[in-house]
Amino acid sequence: MKFSHESIEINAGLLIVLTLVAISIGGLVEIVPLFYIPGTIEKVDGVRPYTPLEQAGRDIYTREGCYLCHSQMIRPFRDEKLRFGHYSLAAESQYDHPFQWGSKRTGPDLARVGKKYSNAWHVQHLKAPRSVVPESIMPNYPWLLENTLNYSDMADRMRALKKVGVPYSETSAEYQANVEKFGKAKADLFNINLADENLLAQARAENFDGDRSRLTEMDALVAYLQVLGTMVDFSQYDEGYFAEFR
């Protein structure tokens, strides 16, 4: 059979295969090099995986669909810097699975919301947003304070994340690697075998929801929100440093 446009158009199977090939080229050329070009992920200090409590909060963030209205990516534009802070680095979401960059903002970007407001504000705002921001259109999330945090499968969730590349440790060799990379204090937090103890200890120490008698979903979510965008100390770097990675 002579190869011609006609032979493609009248052969549905061949048409599908060749269409997929044509589309894939665009995707592959854009995506694949990012995995081996060394400057894709900026070399910065401080970025670490989430602690078990923060990760539990992140799961609640995903469950409640916060990402539908809130992005977590500040773009390198002057107006975004003025409103939200320094633009997001690729390094900052290297342990996010799935990432929460987002492409639509109904609410403000949350990439640097950590430490911006007090815990008490977050609790009040999640419970009843309009009691602190009258013009807000965010829904109320009162059940976060009522629901006891379920962390029975925290170790499994960390194992799942480990499979996709987050350096939580299970064996002593993995733990040692983390000690070298993050220091002992941090490495202890990423130990899957101590997931429950770590989660409880952080909740007890920082008491995010203001109620010491209970461990609620609010504790976890506020722990997550308060760490967002706080891992990199930007005062250590000159602005030009980040531009060299692009």
Binding site: P33, R83, A120, H125, G240, A243
Partner: protein
Amino acid sequence: MTDKQTDNAVQTTGHAWDGDLQEFNNPLPRWWIWAFYASVAFALIYWILYPVWPVGHDYTKGVLTVSYESNGKTVTQHWNTRAKYIEDMQTGEESLKQKAYLDKVVNASYAAILSDPDMMAFTRSIGKGLFGDNCAACHGSGGNGVIGKFPNLVDDSWLWGGTVEDIHATISDGHRGFMPAFRETLNDEELEQVANYVLSLSGQAVDKEQVAAGDKIFNGQKGGCHYCHTHQAKGMKSVGSANLTDAIWSIADVPDASDPKGKLEAVEQVIRNGVQRRMPAWRDRLTPEQIKLLAVYVHELGGGK
């Protein structure tokens, strides 16, 4: 039918269905063809100007460059959005417009800023944005706060001082407001007495006997309220204790209580449970210029001293 189509001299694909159904084979519209060629040409030019193609462990950088200042030296590098952003922050049209004012405001004393209409106009417009982004979440977009949670900034009462310098210190370093809980120290009867006394300080109608008893607790060893609130109950700036004589309520929701009993209950609640409030420190998040502008803006909101 067939005859007419042949007359029109438009080519057909040569198929015929159901005897007379045929398919024209018209050329693509000329505008479409030219748009296609134009987009090909655009792509070629784009490849030359901007970073585009991955090559081994690197990529083509394009011929466009961006220059900006870094550590006192001029850096020129290939075009990318981050370098473009630095350039925009340093020499962009809006940045330069703002910088002229910023330099003026930063080098001026507070007294000079407050008396200069031009600098105040700038402060008001930039302060509104800063306040909206950073402060309004707690203090409200108008600055009137939430009773019981976040202080009102438009009234005339200042827990930590209302001069521009005080406000600057508050924004920069933050504060931890603390009043102990008295539920262990005072029983229900005593709580009511102290609440009566506190309400009487701002001229609310209350029970005389209770007030006298409350006075003893407030100004004596038992309650020791005067240690922070002072004997005159005017509060102390150094510890952020409230002035109880001015009928301005920041924590106990007295204004919203409809009857005297509700007012008493609101005050008792605060004495029973104590207060813990935190104003975050902004010095690491905002630049010194921004804090200065915000201090003036907040001072101007209505209640500056």
